[in-house]
Amino acid sequence: MNLRLRSHRNYVLYASLAAAASLAGCATSGVQNPAGSPVVEMRPDERGKVVGTGIESQDLVAVTDKMARKILATPEIASAQTPPRIVLEPVNNETRFTINKDIFLTKIRDQLIEQAAGKVRFLDRAMMATLEREQRLKQQGLVTATADPNVVEFRGADYFLTGSLQSITTRTTQGTSDYVVYAFRLTDARTSEIVWASSAQIKKEGLEDAAYR
């Protein structure tokens, strides 16, 4: 009887093992986190769960904040008699990461406008096509004008603000490392002098899963 009971227990054990093995082996459609993750609101300068070695929002916020504060402290801006007029030129991207070319300068511009309290003015060259069309309509008398539309009132730039993103990438079996330098400069439109320049640097590294190597 004891022998029979022991044998019976063995069968149950073997059957359980077989069931476990077959279920584990065949769970091909098993999904991790099937319900997904709820949307979480984060600060742009916060490092989230989804990260890479590329240029990310926290880098943008850190760099532009630093640059805006430094520009405002530049003597040419801080002690100008009349608010200097600045034109933004697209950033030159020399990294291996694609970027929205306007986002760095737009962010710096917005921070300068907020913090400078009228000490600097920006010329909206992105709107020039629209502004020229409007001017033509005024010149043709198709729309009203509050000033003589034949007089050129588009302002010229006192300074150009631009920058470049440069990087050094290293890849080994240990992972990929990206060192990115964000360099910005303010150039006098009349003399071509660089009246201000500054840079920030960020380094990141990581190693992709073996399934992708």
Binding site: Y14, L17, A21, G25, T28, T98, E132, E208
Partner: protein
């Protein structure tokens, strides 16, 4: 239940077999059914329908396919959106720990369970297509970024002779620098080193970039005893070069890059070692299962033994009789071996060493590049594909127009805008 040992044994064995079959079947029928797709013949529409129905792990694959088809049909916005979505997904997957990728390394999960990102040659092609669109959008530096990333993607080949040896990415990297008043000589030198054909010097004043693709790209298949080896095959392309005639110019388009060559010169992957281990596990457990089941059969044949015994007959005389009795040891051994063998076979059956053969199937084999200067206006152009003997393939000849916009000399906006090249992309492939 225990009164008839041989019957009981066979019943249990049969019961075990049914149980195993049931478990296997119930465990494996959970794959979701794809909703039916009504095909229209338009590769972009059909591709989008398949993308909508595809499991999440195949999204990038379908985004790649749709992007290539959209680019060939001049649907730039669609191609741009699909390539950006795919590249964002890939960047997230390869730079952050992925649970799905980790599971795909497991013995009992297939490599194809991981979200598709593509082999390096596929990711390079996604970068190249997106670079064409950046060039069209007047952002050569972003195109250059993608070309630099492409060479990095190709940098971890097993044989370093083939590392970062794409020609067009290096050439375009330097060309973008030259266009942006930078120095592209290093990149040009790298491109020339990798190229089988002489490459032209940069002409920063050129205002047209031409990228032409032809031939069918590589296909993937699984080789090896357990399908654990990822291999590539390609059909022989009839077109092996091309010629563009426009505005009195005849431009020879030799193949600068061969996508099949790039696919086949990567060497082994880290994942190949993992798949090799899975295959070894499958083979070993399968052999163990065979041996155990054979042992079970032998043991089952010996669960009865004959015993001679002296008994006193009815006549009061002793005599020797032969009795067949159960051999409990052999019976238990038979059951143990059978269950063990079954378990080993189940494990072997559940192991999934097959290589992932999902592929971006509408890629080309050859890529040619040229730059030229054209004055403003619309220029009729003829693109002729040539066979190995240099003879035209008339059925594949394409005629089209290259439009060069005239600059608005009086516009401040036009003067302020960065100069923008015309990027011509032509494909021999229909889809």
């Amino acid at each position: 239940m225990f009164c008839c040992p041989s019957r009981s044994l066979s019943r249990r064995a049969a019961g075990g077999g049914w149980l195993a079959s049931l478990l296997l079947l119930t465990g494996c029928v959970t794959a979701p059914q794809m909703p039916p797709i009504v095909f229209t013949g338009d590769p972009v529409v059909d591709g989008n329908a398949q993308l909508a129905a595809a499991p999440a792990k195949d999204r990038v694959l379908w985004e790649y396919r749709v992007a290539a088809a959209a680019l060939r049909r001049g649907q730039d916005a669609e191609a741009r959106a699909k390539l950006d979505a795919a590249r964002a997904t890939v960047a997230g997957l390869v730079s952050s720990p992925s649970a799905e990728a980790a599971q795909a390394r497991g013995t009992f999960r297939a490599e194809s369970d991981k979200p598709f990102v593509g082999e390096p040659y596929e990711r390079v092609m996604a970068n190249l297509y997106r670079a064409v669109l950046y060039w069209r959008d007047g952002e050569p530096d972003n195109a250059r970024a993608l070309m630099r990333d492409a060479e990095l993607i190709d940098s971890d080949t097993e044989n370093k002779t083939y590392a970062g040896d794409w020609v067009i990415p290096d050439w375009l990297d330097g060309y973008a620098s030259a266009k942006l008043a930078g120095d592209g000589t290093d990149a040009l030198a790298r491109a020339r080193k990798s190229s089988a054909h002489p490459l032209p010097d940069y002409d920063p004043a050129a205002n047209v970039l031409v990228l032409v693709e032809y031939g069918r790209g590589p296909r993937k298949y699984a080789a090896g005893d357990q399908g654990e080896q990822l291999k590539f095959a390609a059909d022989t392309s009839r077109a092996v070069s091309a010629r563009l005639e426009v505005a009195g110019q005849s431009i020879a388009l030799t193949p600068w890059d061969d996508v099949t060559y790039q696919a086949t010169t990567r060497g082994g992957r880290v994942m190949d070692h993992i798949l090799g281990n899975k295959a070894e596990f499958k083979k070993t457990t399968d052999t163990v299962g065979d041996v155990a089941l054979a042992g079970a059969v032998i043991a089952a044949q010996n669960t009865r033994k004959e015993v001679k015994r002296t008994v006193i007959g009815p006549d009061g005389k002793p005599r020797v009789v032969t009795e067949t009795v159960r051999d409990k040891g052999a019976e238990n051994a038979a059951i143990g071996l059978a269950v063990g063998g079954l378990l080993a076979k189940l494990l072997a059956g559940a192991a999934q060493p097959a290589a992932d053969t999902r592929a971006w199937e509408n890629l080309p084999q050859y890529l040619s590049l040229a730059t030229l200067r054209l004055p403003p206006g619309e220029h009729p152009a003829t693109l002729t594909f040539l066979d190995a003997a240099g003879q035209p393939l008339p059925s594949r000849t394409q005629t089209f127009a290259i439009a060069i916009p005239a600059p608005d000399e009086n516009s401040v906006a036009a003067a302020a805008a960065a100069p923008r090249d015309t990027a011509v992309f032509r494909s021999e492939l229909p889809d």
